[in-house]
Amino acid sequence: MDIRIENLSKKYAAQTAVDRVSFEVRTGEILGFLGPNGAGKSTTMKMITGYIGIGEGDILIGGQSVRQHAGRLKKHIGYLPEHNPLYEDMPVMDYLQFCAALQGVAKDDIPARVHSMIRQCSLDAEKHKKIGELSKGYRQRVGLAQAMIHDPEVLILDEPTTGLDPNQIIEIRRLIRELGKEKTVILSTHILPEVEATCDRILIINKGRIVADGTAESLRRQAAGQEIFLVRIEDAPDDQVLQALPAIPGVTNVSGPDTATGRWEIQAVPGSPARRGLFHLCVEKHWVLTELIPVETRLEDIFRNLTLN
């Protein structure tokens, strides 16, 4: 089931939480929904799941409007809300059975579904414990299990890995990737390596508006106004280097040397022969070039650039 979001807006009193957002997610795609806190991620997700009403615009899930068919569409959506609220006093098994029954899973299929979710989420050892007694990682698995208990075509996960330790994060990511293969998944987070590890596509939202949309690769390319590399030059006085480096064709900025590593940071026009120029310069001056490290623009930098102004 594809999700299409058309010109979606939502206002809380005077504040605009989501502002004319449009995007599309195709079946089998895992979309990473990125943005600083309060950017409108959760609001958008709540509207998709039908928990809160749509302000303006529309959301189409499998061609059907959430405005008109929210009730019917709920069956096809699995949702893990932020903070993963669960009934603490219920045992895991009972809770999953309860969720399955509510989602309209046929009575005869419920034990099989519950069993398979317990196996897939590795909850077997904890299945008779009360949810309140579980550690955060296991609670998160219960949250995922309840979201997927009815094998929904659409999966909406609001910050599924907050508060987990690195091992658990990797585990949950694997689970999402595995279970999300044939589903349409929207996953929100503000942990950047997470989207790279899990998602096929990234959508960055800030102050209710989409500021970037694409794969991690294409975002990098877009953001890469500059090629950056670090170099270490030995047998050369710093002041001479500082004079000579900016003269290389293509180089736009030079800073350094870094006191700890002795490296110079050079910014250059992408695709320019700056690195060749540097090599020839060193040869000509009998300086020794011991290090030349190209710096990949980090997703963090892209994120900061897009969301800070």
Binding site: Y79, P85, M90
Partner: protein, 240 residues
């Protein structure tokens, strides 16, 4: 309808898991038993095979207990955020409210079921008017339904269970006492209006053994108003 039952079942189970059900049963049976058989104008003092003293005690104990049962129904879900999970499942707001109502009502019904030993005992030792007893129980069930309706509404407007408890008690107090007092203060049309709003009057007329359609309409309207208002306060998240 099936979803309503699924929700009601879970809710009922959680009453028993959290001890609320046991405390409520023990207190209710303790109070009503004490005042029916042992103290005050109890059966032996009156000397008649009549359950009137039980019904008047239950009338008051339920008035206090029901807000305590209903206070957590929606307020707790709001506080912990589970309401979001529940309402994004394939259920309507109405089914959620109905399921919770049903659970609370069943709990009261279970409590009343335990008191059936009273009329059975009485029927064995004296000449009990069975019709009146049935009407008395029907009256208690209808009254409970009305207060549960009010309680669910009170629980739907807040995330704080104490607030839910107190506002349910406050609203119920009007029906339980204040309208009756007001009706005796006013004559003419206002007096009649207050009189017809008083829950005690309708309860008395039923427990006397006469089930009148106006009484039933009265109780059902309170239930309906409570449930619809509760549903509306859930629905409100769509508007603002």
């Amino acid at each position: 309808m099936q979803s309503v039952w699924v929700i009601a079942k879970r809710e009922l189970a959680s009453f028993f898991d959290s001890l609320i059900a046991y405390i409520m049963l023990v207190l209710f049976l303790g109070f009503s038993g004490f005042f029916t058989w042992l103290y005050g104008s109890d059966i032996f003092l009156v000397g008649q095979a009549s359950l009137e003293s039980f019904f008047s005690v239950a009338f008051w104990t339920l008035f206090f207990f029901i807000p305590a049962i209903t206070m957590r129904l929606l307020a707790e879900e709001r506080k912990t955020g589970t309401i979001e999970l529940l309402l994004t499942k394939a259920v309507t707001d109405r089914q959620v409210v109905m399921g919770k109502f049903l659970a609370a009502w069943l709990l009261v019904a279970i409590a009343l079921l335990f008191t059936l030993s009273y009329p059975i005992t009485l029927a064995l030792i004296g000449n009990l008017d069975i019709g009146q007893v049935i009407c008395g129980y029907a009256g208690l069930l209808l009254m409970s339904a009305a207060y549960i309706g009010i309680g669910i509404f009170a629980s739907s407007i807040t995330a704080n269970q104490i607030v839910a408890f107190l506002s349910a008690l406050f609203i119920s107090l009007f029906f339980h006492l204040i309208f009756g007092v007001l009706s005796s203060q006013f004559s003419g049309v206002p007096g009649e209006v207050f009189d017809s709003l008083s829950l005690s009057r309708h309860f008395e007329s039923i427990s006397r053994g006469v089930i009148d359609s106006t009484d039933i309409v009265y109780f059902l309207s309170i239930v309906l108003a409570g449930l619809l208002l509760a549903e509306f306060s859930l629905y409100k998240r769509n508007i603002d």
